[in-house]
């Protein structure tokens, strides 16, 4: 009987021959927290009898959510986390390094790994064929202490992607389309496993965008096979020795199969206040916007910024719009400066934020006012997400967000090009 990617990775790690529905104890390769889930994790860890880190080099703290801190109490939380790192020898990536999920991709995630993090978007590393999933503080604290966790092997949905994207249409449009099709709970507890000929042209950046949002359909993990694209990305990150090819068996059993012809996709937008409330940008009518936010673990990578810079070149941001752009990591910011993208964005009237989560979760750097509308490249548009339940968030691709920044209303990027 063939195995899905999920069954394969969990079998390899647990040393057992598992299939969907089995519950197993598994060693974990990376266990991390960020600064809003970290303090509770540390307290749960200390409440345990066994409170020595079993593997400090695989235990990581990222300070990215409130970065730099906007308040006294969060600054004290950061001190608490730094002290814990000093005492235990775990790794810490402090303010300015970037969003945890981007750093996990750049520095840690390898094909066949099991990664757990106290952040729901831990699924992002599925792009590198890591079985990566979000958990809460107690689970992470126990994994720090034991080096393992319990997992139920998920049933998988096979998502076949075929064809080639049209210009200025890409990964974000695809994943919004998929979530709109199956619903915000359409894959709860399941694995989304991506396959198909469209993957050959899909960069690691695009795969990360798609895997990142698997959780917005309720999925436990969003997995890509480990292939040439994975190989080249690991090589560029200095981890070529970690590459191994990995894909699902041809005769694996799937609970559901979905085929998407990506060449038929159009710029897609998710409307307030749920991610599955999708529409095509061209059909939205006049939706005036106050703020554009481009960045995050979903869409703050170099090719996202490249697309934004291309659209903004020799154009100006609409006078009633604030354009906030946040590279997902320090290395992306450095590359974007070298490539000239940052100066193009600034000359067009945009504002650059320090690498981190920025405005995404409503803590700082772009909290919306009453009645304000934001188009964002992030992954969530829940009521109150950007700090104000009286505001409205639309999700879209970097191209759609950049085009909208120019016109002042939600715009299909093909209309301004």
């Amino acid at each position: 009987m063939g195995k899905t990617l999920s069954e394969k990775i969990i079998s390899m790690k647990s040393g057992m021959d598992v299939s969907a529905g089995d519950i197993v104890i598994c060693p974990v390769d990376l266990v991390f927290v960020q600064d809003t889930t970290g303090p509770l994790t540390v307290r749960q860890f200390r409440a345990g009898k066994n409170n020595t880190l079993v593997n400090p080099s695989n235990s990581v703290i990222f300070i990215d959510h409130a970065s730099p801190s906007p308040s006294l109490s969060l600054s004290n939380d950061h001190i608490f986390l730094r002290n814990f790192a000093n005492e235990t020898g775990c790794l810490i990536f402090d303010v300015g390094n970037g969003v945890c999920h981007q750093l996990v991709a750049e520095k840690f995630a390898n094909p066949g790994d099991i990664i757990i993090g106290a952040d729901s978007h831990t699924v992002t590393a599925g792009a590198l064929c890591s079985f990566a999933t979000g958990m809460g503080s107690s689970d992470i604290a126990i994994a720090w202490a034991l080096g393992k966790t319990w997992l139920r092997v998920p049933e998988s949905y096979r998502i076949e992607l075929k064809g080639k994207f049209q210009k200025y249409i890409g990964a974000k449009d695809l994943i919004l389309h998929l979530i709109g099709t199956i619903g915000a709970d359409g894959a709860t507890y399941k694995a989304l496993e991506f396959t198909g000929d469209a993957l050959d042209d899909m960069s690691m950046s695009q795969r990360l965008t798609i895997a990142n949002m698997a959780v917005e359909a309720g999925a436990k993990v969003g997995l890509f096979p480990s292939d040439q694209v994975t190989h080249d990305y690991l090589y560029a990150c200095g981890r070529k020795n970690k590459y191994k090819p990995l894909q699902a068996d041809a005769d694996a059993t799937y609970e559901r199969s979905i085929i998407i012809d990506v060449s038929k996709l159009e710029p897609t937008v998710s409307r307030p206040h749920s991610v599955d409330n999708i529409a095509l940008a061209k059909n939205l009518g006049d939706v005036n916007i106050n703020q554009v936010f481009i960045g995050t673990c979903t869409n703050g990578r170099l090719d996202d910024l490249s697309q934004v810079a291309k659209i903004l070149e020799n154009r100006k941001v609409h006078r009633e719009v604030r354009l906030l752009v946040c590279p997902a990591s320090r290395s992306i910011m450095a590359e974007a400066i070298k490539a000239g993208y940052i100066s193009t964005i600034i000359e067009a009237g945009g504002l650059i934020l320090p690498p981190g989560c920025a405005a995404c979760l409503g803590l700082h750097q772009g909290v919306l006012g009453n009645g304000e509308v934001c188009i964002s490249t992030a992954n969530r548009n829940f009521k109150g997400r950007m700090g104000n339940p009286e505001s409205f968030i639309y999700l879209a691709s970097p191209a759609t967000a950049a085009a909208s920044a120019i016109t002042g209303k939600i715009t299909d990027p093909r209309e301004v090009l």
Binding site: I23, S73, D185, L363, G384, P389
Partner: protein
């Protein structure tokens, strides 16, 4: 196993109650001050909830309860408000696991049958909900064995402290 019966009033909510509605991200600066954080439980879904809820009461919701963030503060503040169990048609995965890890029962059942304000009695071990107000009886989906043992110990940390590891 000893029989545990929970008694309280139903507070009804709709589908898709996100962790932002349960405890908004904008209160992240209170996460190291749990008593203050807990005052904002369910605030963006029902600002009056914290004034109305009594120890033992139930949150009764539709589908996909707890979607979104992995913040374990979400079930934690619900428990601190005195809620003894959450009943929903379905739960988001991380929230479900977090609630069990905090020792808060999360029960999957047909919640359309329950009305706001109904008095409920729940036999946790027996899997039975008695709707005292409507005089009807319904069942909930069995909790997986590993999660039931974690729940019985009051959460994951006490469970691991007792057994030293996972017992499957």
């Amino acid at each position: 196993m000893q029989k545990i019966t929970l008694k309280g009033r139903a507070f009804k909510f709709g589908d898709g109650i996100s962790t932002d509605l349960i405890i908004a991200g904008r209160y992240a600066d209170l996460r190291s001050n749990l008593p203050e954080l807990a005052k904002h439980v369910m605030e963006d879904a029902d600002p009056e909830f914290i004034k109305k809820v009594h120890p033992g009461d139930f949150i009764v919701a539709g589908s996909n309860f707890g979607l979104g963030s992995s913040r374990e503060h979400a079930p934690l503040v619900i428990k601190m408000a005195g809620v003894s169990a959450i009943l929903a048609k379905s739960f988001a995965r991380i929230f479900f696991r977090n609630a069990i890890n905090q020792g808060l029962p999360v029960l999957i059942c047909d919640t359309d049958l329950i009305k706001d304000g109904d008095q409920l009695e729940i036999d946790l071990g027996g899997g039975v909900i008695i709707n005292v107000t409507q005089n009807v009886r319904q069942t909930f989906t069995k909790i997986p064995a590993v999660m039931l043992s974690i729940l019985n110990e009051g959460g994951l940390v006490p469970y691991i402290n007792k057994y030293g590891g996972f017992k499957l």
